[in-house]
């Protein structure tokens, strides 16, 4: 059951990225371009997502267990440390260079775009290096 849910959640998430146009790097870059021609749309993606996920999380977080798994896995890390800040700075720079973050990058593989495949391969190389450093 967990596996079917994972697949379905991936599909819904991917369709969300398409409808919101978050999958289009040009749209992302013009969202970040606040000092000239600014497209504020993507703020609404975040608002829309949070409007659904926030109440659901708080309604269910104190339940004993999820419906199809033995326990909830929620990050307990509360530390605001150098890794968090440096990592976010590096991610922000990469995001601003191309306009792709991990979700849209992987989703865009569906379009058989060579450039997005190159980006995703490099991103996985980054994951691998980080796993050796961490």
């Amino acid at each position: 059951m967990n596996k079917i849910i994972s697949l379905l959640c991936g599909i819904v998430f991917g369709i969300g990225l398409v409808i919101s146009e978050m999958i289009n790097p040009e749209k992302v870059l013009s969202f970040l371009n606040i000092f000239s021609d600014w497209d504020p749309s993507l703020a609404f993606v975040m608002i829309g997502a949070l409007l659904v996920s926030t109440p659901v999380f708080h309604l269910f977080k104190n339940k004993k267990k999820p419906l199809f798994s033995s326990n909830f896995l929620i990050s307990k890390n509360k530390e605001v440390d150098k890794k968090l800040i440096i990592g976010s700075i590096l991610f922000g720079a990469g995001w601003g260079l191309i306009g792709l973050c991990p979700g849209p990058a992987i989703t865009s593989l569906a379009l058989l775009n060579v450039n997005s495949a190159l980006f995703v391969t490099s991103m996985f190389a980054g994951f691998y290096v980080a796993s050796k450093v961490n």
């Binding site: 596996k3 994972s6 697949l7 959640c9 991936g10 998430f13 991917g14 369709i15 990225l17 398409v18 146009e21 978050m22 999958i23 040009e26 013009s30 970040l32 021609d37 497209d39 749309s41 993507l42 609404f44 993606v45 975040m46 829309g48 997502a49 949070l50 996920s53 659901v56 269910f60 798994s69 909830f72 890390n77 509360k78 800040i85 990592g87 976010s88 700075i89 590096l90 991610f91 720079a93 601003g96 792709l100 973050c101 991990p102 992987i106 989703t107 379009l111 775009n113 997005s116 190159l118 995703v120 391969t121 490099s122 991103m123 996985f124 190389a125 980054g126 994951f127 691998y128 961490n134």
Partner: protein, 139 residues
């Protein structure tokens, strides 16, 4: 500042779907979605590997199902500079794992939980993204 190409309705609707996916994954499977975490765990860890793979596979199926059912073409425009793609990809991969989250993990799942770490991470990568676009616009 000029406001251009503003599409609040489609952005909000797409956002609802993303939020729905995060909510369902939590209620049913007990995990908070962060794509960088799911993707890197699929690469380096045996735990939940099939679940992680199927989620990523679903992401890729999403646009195909969308195009098939709506007969709409999905057009994206992406930089052609190969070296920039490689550098940015490594920065995104390395950076999101160092900080344990990306736009989804910190920006949606983390903020849903009111995690201070995630709020700080989201503000940081947004500001750095804006500065990066500002600088590349000038160069």
């Amino acid at each position: 500042m000029n406001i251009v190409n503003f599409t609040p309705i489609t952005s909000l609707s797409g956002g609802f779907l993303i939020g729905l996916s995060v909510a369902l994954f939590f209620i049913l499977n007990g995990r908070m979605i962060g794509i960088s975490g799911i993707a890197s765990n699929f690469l380096i860890s045996k735990d939940n590997r099939m679940q992680n793979f199927l989620f990523l596979f679903g992401l890729i199926l999403g646009p195909l199902i969308y195009s098939f059912t709506t007969s709409k073409e999905i057009n994206i425009s992406i930089s052609n500079s190969l070296s920039l793609l490689v550098v940015a990809g490594i920065l995104v991969g390395f950076g999101t794992r160092l900080s344990n989250g990306c736009t989804s993990g910190h920006g949606i799942s983390g903020i849903s939980r009111f995690s201070l770490r995630s709020i700080i991470a989201t503000i940081t990568f947004m500001i750095v993204g804006i500065i990066t676009v500002l600088i590349t616009g000038i160069l």
